[in-house]
Amino acid sequence: MAKSDGKSKKPADKKADSAKRSASRERREAAAAAQSSGNSIWSAATLAVIAVFGFIYTLAVGNQPLLGLDLQGGVSAVYQPAEGAEFDEESLDQTVEIIRNRVDGLGVAEPEISRQGETIVVDLPGVEQKERALQLVGETAQLLFRPVILDPAAFAGVGAGLGGLDGGAVDGEGNEFDPSIDPDAISDDETEPSDEPEPSDDSGDEEEGSLPPIREKQDSDADEEPADDDADEEPADDDADGSDADDPASDEETDEDNPVIAPDPQAGLQAQVEAGCTEGVTAPEDDDPEAFVLLEGVDGGLYCLGPALLTGESLESAEVAFDGITWSVNPLFRDGAEGIGAFNDIAAICANPFAGTNGAVCPATGTDSQTGQPRGALAIVLDHEVVSAPLINAASFARDNIVISGTFDEDSARNLALALRFGALPVELEAQQQRTVSASIGDDVLRSGVIAGIIGLSLVGIYVLFYYRLAGLVAIGGLLISGLLLWTIISWLGENYGLAISLAGIVGLIVSIGVSTDSNIVYFENVKDIASKGRRVTTAVERAYQSAISTIVKADVVSLIAAGLLYFLTVGAVKGFALYLGIATMLDLLVSYMFMRPALAWIASRPKVQANPRLVGMPEGGASS
């Protein structure tokens, strides 16, 4: 910053005096100024060209700003771990991932699912089935138990064991029904399908050594086994007789007295199966719990599954167990008819697939690895994916005596336990805010925001033109450049990062009009200040810049600090506001550095302006008068 000379003189003397004293210096400076503005006009032009090309590019590739759901309608929900829920970074990330998978099934164009600390924000702009979306996302338990109708190998030949619900010992030791389970099931993922003669019914020809069984825990074997044998026949027959509905798909699976779907004649089943399992993998949105579906397993296999017989609601908890050799999972069902009762009704059927019409509900898809008995399998389906499809090797279980054993390693056992415990989400979530905005209201909000912005911008433009005359064009040009760049950046962020702009963001931008204009005003006033001391306008334009830019940077840094802290320390709308305020402030710095001075210098150097500084709102310069 050049020292202002002549300050100690009386203002009246000052003009003449300083004019005399610094005549030569003035000329030198003017020359330097002309040269520097000659160079820097390129920076202004470059910035303008970049802005214009960026905008054209954005239009050409069809990028558009992504509107927040308050502007286009949609659903937003904010979740946090429920009180007392245990969670850590990893389980929260996992939760986000699971929610994302669920949302993907909804066909939302730009879902935004983010974790901000412990808070999970789900924004689904433009989603049409709003209620269903909220349900789908927030639901902790999307866990279904469905009978395996055709064994996996029938579809993909993969059919690897996924673990087994096993009523017997974890490792099978001392379990009379399970002579061969431990070493094979543990070590052998692809299993030994050929070991076992396969007496399957409708899926007949398929080998099924791979589906590990559900058994009771070892210690209860003695008590329960006799009961098993009874149950083999009795409950199943009751069911079959008691509710001979025509359509298995229409039955409620968790019906208290009869949670099991009454079987149809095989032919009917075949038709149902055909309908559900021959059309390729069932899409998540078509995954009706009451229909036959074809779903993928985590092992990559395909499973044709019957209507859900039970939901995750019937479970209370699940633990992993490790006996030193194998990992297994112990689910704990709830007490009562809707918990273990319902499960046992199903177990009775699946454990005896050849009894009565049981096979129509839960056909045999494998054999008990210990007894060689044919068993039906119950798939554990999480978010449309088969996590495990264990055979049921006993017809009745005590609620705390169930083991799913098989080919687990530690991770897969833990994952299954987590899934069983919380349904799909590893962390129990509580909705803090759920918001749905109808598309028409969104439109109105957007329209009012845009109208307010345009009016505000025009008023500012008119004012700066009125007050600063031609120099006002510099301010307007700067705003235009910022505007074009903003459009490009916002569209780019929306297109590539799914960052939507909300009303709060628009307000941030409208407010930033003021900030950008202020930078120009600070500069213009500085120029005026110096020009009024008798400098040529062209000189003043150069001299005023340094102190102006220093002020602008200081003030903008304060704004950036505010934007940055707000962005990192807050959630939701405040975050969006901070982001766009921050971007706008950076653009202000950019425009102030590259555009403001050269543009004003160019205007000031026009002969007409030189002759009449009032054209740029400046007083008549001393040196030029």
Partner: protein, 326 residues
């Protein structure tokens, strides 16, 4: 009058701010005290985002009135029903319920959908759990404290600690009085209001920084005409006055248009929430930079022992010369 404007235009005004400060300081203090009293006694009126509850909106045919809407709603005791006009014809029913009614929200949505003759998908719903607002607030406060801290350090480094202190005093003044106005006028405080308050904070600082920067610049330039710090500040104020006025005008214009559009157009409720607080805050921000931050700084400066001030100034000048030499 005209000559004052002309002087202002040419940054030649010679307004003596010192006697004005004698009035503005007590006025500011009084306003702050009133605001604190209002906040303590009346408190703020939180929106449902802070209290928990639900807002349901649906557009309805013109024939529907509030009474009808009220009758249609199940359990309509703790329910506020408003009819909002829609410039496109027809109108809007806005229903606000307490958190305890959220269990019935499906009924409310269905009743409203029927009233408007639309599907439940066309009903806008905003349901908030009772603890969510506290968290937003505590996060905002945490951000605010962090902000004060960081900005104080930054300003102390780039300007000087007295100026950092003065800037923060001015910000607190602006925030407090804005909150006080919200409390007295019983305006609802929504998350939008919080954002607006944070913006005000940024603005107020921005404004003060510009003013202080001018003072510092004049101080460093040094000038034998200056008689004491008060005079220096006074002169600087006159120099930046026009900038302050112009900046205020150009920032208030967009906010004003938000206020007007928000008040006139449907869907402008949030916009209005933003702009009321912004409008009040911006005016206060300009006011406080001139009438509070400046005298506060002068007061702090005048308490500084002269030799120390002299020494400091010399160091700063040297530092600036070094910076310029680079």
């Amino acid at each position: 009058m005209k000559s004052i404007l002309k002087d202002l235009y040419h940054s030649r005004s010679t307004i003596d701010f010192v006697p004005l400060w004698a009035k503005s300081i007590p006025a500011s203090v009084a306003l702050m005290v009133i605001s604190v009293l209002a906040l303590v006694i009346l408190g703020l009126k939180p929106s449902i985002e802070f209290e928990g509850g639900g807002i349901f909106e649906v557009s309805v045919p013109e024939s529907v009135d509030v009474g009808q809407a009220r009758d249609a709603l199940p359990g309509s005791d703790n329910v506020r029903v408003q009819l909002v006009g829609d410039p496109d014809g027809g109108s809007f029913i806005r229903v606000q319920t307490g958190a305890e009614l959220l269990e019935n929200s499906t009924d409310i949505v269905e009743a409203l959908a029927e009233l408007g003759g639309v599907t439940t998908n066309d009903v806008s719903i905003n349901e908030v759990g009772p603890t969510w607002g506290d968290q937003i607030t505590s996060k905002a406060i945490r951000a605010l404290v962090a902000f004060f801290f960081v900005v104080a350090i930054y300003l102390a480094w780039r300007l000087e600690w007295r100026m950092a202190a003065g800037a923060l005093v001015a910000v607190v003044h602006d925030l407090l009085i804005t909150a006080g106005i919200y409390s007295i006028l019983r305006l609802e405080v929504s998350p939008a209001t919080v954002i607006a308050l944070l913006t005000i904070m940024g603005y107020s600082l921005y404004d003060t920084v510009v003013v202080y920067d001018k003072i510092l610049e004049n101080e460093l330039d040094g000038n034998s005409r200056v008689k004491g710090y008060g005079d220096l500040v006074n002169r600087s104020m006159n120099q930046v006055l026009m900038r302050s006025i112009n900046t205020t005008i150009t920032t208030v214009l967009p906010v004003l248009s938000m206020l007007v559009v928000g008040a006139l157009l449907l869907g402008g409720a949030t916009l209005r929430d933003f702009s009321i607080a912004l409008f009040i805050g911006l005016i206060l921000g300009t006011y406080s930079s001139i009438f509070l931050a400046a005298p506060f700084l002068t007061w702090l400066k005048n308490r500084q022992p002269e030799e120390e001030a002299e020494l400091e100034l010399r160091e700063r000048r040297a530092a600036r010369r070094r910076a310029e030499a680079k």
